[in-house]
């Protein structure tokens, strides 16, 4: 069973601030979903390996070489940041 403390713990691991209403909602829904997916335990999987790659071929590697962006491309990418300082992204203070 998942209790309220567990939900808070998961939210903390996931770095999600949740409102009390959200904690309650997910606290009710997660056990139901886990109960539903629990039917996987009924399948005898002793004869197979787990796969998480359905490619036929192995990964295709290329030479590890940087490809330069032109100035416009670089500026467009950096423009997503709220503040720049000397071509670098200035983030908010993170240390107290």
């Amino acid at each position: 069973m998942i209790n309220n403390e567990d939900i808070k713990h998961i939210a903390n691991l996931a770095r999600l601030e949740l409102t009390p209403a959200e904690l309650e909602k997910y606290g009710a829904q997660l056990p139901k979903i886990l109960d539903y997916v629990g039917q996987l335990q009924d399948v005898d999987t002793s004869e197979v390996d787990a796969i998480n790659n359905v490619s036929d071929s192995p990964s295709e590697f290329r030479a590890d070489e940087a490809i330069d962006w032109n100035e416009a491309e670089r500026n467009n990418a950096l423009a997503q940041a709220s503040e720049l300082d000397g071509g670098q992204i200035k983030v908010h203070r993170v240390l107290e």
């Binding site: 998961i10 997660l30 539903y36 996987l40 335990q41 796969i51 998480n52 036929d56 993170v94």
Partner: protein, 482 residues
Amino acid sequence: MELNKLTISAAAKLLHEKKITSVELTTACLDRIKSLDAKIQACLCVCEAEALAQAAAADKRIAAGETGDLLGIPYLVKDNITVAGIQATAASKILKNYIAPYNATAVERLNAAGAVVLGKTNMDEFGHGASTENSAYQITKNPWDLERVPGGSSGGNGAAVAADMCLFGLSSDTGGSIRQPASFCGVVGLKPSYGRISRHGLMAMTSSTDVVGVISKTVEDAALVLQAIAGQDDFDATASSVAPDDYLKNLDNGVKGLKVGLPAEYFTDSIKSEVRDLIMAQAEILKAAGAEIMNVSLPHTKYSVPAYYIITPCEISSNLARLDGLRYGYFDETAKNLAEIYAKNRGGGFGPEAKRRIMLGTYALSAGYYDAYYKKANKVRQMIALDFAKVFGQVDIILAPTTPTAAFKIGEKVDDPIQMYLEDIFVSSASLAGLPAVVVPAGLINNLPIGVQLIGKKMGEAELLRVAKSLNPEQNFAKANI
């Protein structure tokens, strides 16, 4: 002539014969969006100036004698695929105002072919959903019935193609996100094999099943787009080095002698009898064209949704960990330290379903649970893939329903995650096994479209599309009266 209603192949012919221009064609689509999208809400952004500039450039290439099936053809892009200089929010608040700095490989290849980007379409946030109700911005309506969902997650793309706002849509499918909206909106939806098209520039959701694909008005159009974008890519190590086929060459060669399997597990009581009748009628069309219809079994079908809803949240929780608002995206100014920055930006930026999946995935991957959930689900996934391998030893193509019902009402399933997840019951298996699948219109039930799904062998898109064309779906291509 309403140019926006043309198929790609018909428009390409008129463009080459210089009977129309790309600017005229593009303008017709933009006008359609302007007149209709307040009602449908398929588009998250329309880039008129850029589109008209691209169209004018295409007209110049045509004037210079260049021909190409996609030269001057306007299309809409799902908002989780990047187009340089245009917003890419994946319908999430956490990426509000985010402008993509580079093109997805599929977009790059379409650009090179001279296709014209009209704008970006609505979706379930990051692809999480089967109704497009999980968008942070708007709820897209089904052009067939404005009280109903267009399906999801590519609901904006499906609705836009059905309503002739564009000639085709560039989209993505992770566990049914192209096929289910194609069924609900009465259009063609192609989910290629895993690795057939580069995922570079597609925002990662479930990296092991994500594919880029196409929503179009005809099977031939889907083949034309696939032809332009398939193939290896230095930017995606999982893009296969297997050379793409010629998807057009044998498109009209029919199905004589082909073996078509009907999986018993897809024809249970869970589908409505009217849906079953429509799908069986499709099998009869293939039989009449010379195919042999066989009953087959995919015994682990019922475990595909539970396996998918472990694998997907696990990969989502990892993939979305990169979004924290520090360098770009949603930022909560009240955060005072690093822990708060993460928690507030993510808590405030992600919507309810994204948070639900992140929570579920985080739980399933947390200490002590990995074997019971993710590993177990991937073992079941292997059994699902082995079921398909066995059946494809007996038949060439699988024919199945796409959805148990036609489009449901807006709001009907939004509070019940498991009911929404069960929308994927017939579409998640092919994703887990990495197989190509295509949905084409099979007919109407109470004036709502239903699509039939064909599943093919891995990298067997040429054969898959040939069988789809043999169904002659264009005759079922009724248009929404809007």
